[in-house]
Subunit: 118 residues, 4 copies
């Protein structure tokens, strides 16, 4: 299924339930953050060096995929509501991140952005 | 730019900086949740009935698009690392949500899922 | 019960289960954020002007109190682990917020801090 | 400073700025989650086995204490607004957690609660 038809399906899902009244951007940002919190919960007791393996254990993987699906749906609903194009937003941010994190400054370092004031 | 080429660009961005060592799924879930928190911060003082208008004010819109870009990038990095296909995860979740939120039970109601115990 | 005895009870709860091995500050920050996400979920479909009333509906109030309890426990565990005194941290931040948000600049405005660069 | 006087100081801080209009429980839950996200960001690239040491590096410690202060303030504002007593909520939750995570079931295991349906 291509992304365009998924948007159409989401719109139909929302319209059938008359839920667009609840889906202003504020509420959708809350939905997105709470779903991201559920995804976070899956990994909270998993050590860093076990996190890749954990993501491939069948039961955990199903839950993680479910939470990723929820986050993706919330993000798509927010983009659709605000008219912000996700691909464009990601591409623009990637261009800016290349400036904020120059290779010579950032290589191999979990660094904060150049110019960050904290 | 199609999604596939964006993944390629993200992979190159990470590889040039030797950052894959930091990008295990646990850390990426943290990145995603912290970026979702920054998006949330944009809307925290905006009333529900102003949230659509706010999302179109030029300065706010730029910040919101930036945060959406960050969330999208974090989500794409996590999917790429775990090998979970985002479109499939969203589609599977939408199918399940149709069962969890039957139209007759959910129409016009900001309801909790059928069978939710939490 | 005073806060000191609650810390003691939490320490005993953790020690009996041999859970301090999981409770490094990174994991506790994840616990805190995921619990904050659950609290957020309670309010995501509630309009601003109904949020006070909603917080007093008996069933909702119980769930909200539960989530507040979870957030408080996570915060207390993190403070205990890092040796950061919560009261001092709050007081220091309040002092700084008085500078960041001068009354004449902030009165009646949901403003960003003075000097914020975004 | 005892907690009671800190609440008084927070109330004065809010009243001077006429900010109670923005501080309904929904918005305060968003504030809390976004501050928890900022705290999370401090630890996102820190490996589990470095997280205790990192929390004692002076610059990091100051930032972490600042974020803990923000989270504590948001939590205190929410409790004050809703009339939910934080100590009681934590104590009640601890009592329930003793049932949900029996020692014999939980010892040394980062377990999900007994009866969790996920």
């Amino acid at each position: 299924m291509d992304p365009a038809s998924l948007v159409d399906e989401l719109r139909a899902f929302v319209a059938e339930r008359d839920w667009s009244q609840f889906h202003d951007p504020k509420n959708l940002a809350m939905l997105l953050a709470s779903e991201a919190g559920e995804l976070l919960a899956e990994y909270r007791w998993v050590p860093n060096d076990k996190a890749d393996g954990f993501s491939h254990e069948p039961e955990a993987r199903q839950r993680i995929a479910d939470e990723i699906g929820d986050v993706g749906i919330a993000l798509m609903l927010l983009c659709d509501r605000t008219g912000i194009d996700l691909q464009t937003a990601m591409r623009d941010k990637l261009v800016r991140n290349r400036d904020r994190y120059p290779v010579e400054h950032s290589k191999g370092r979990a660094t904060r952005p150049v110019g960050a004031t904290g």
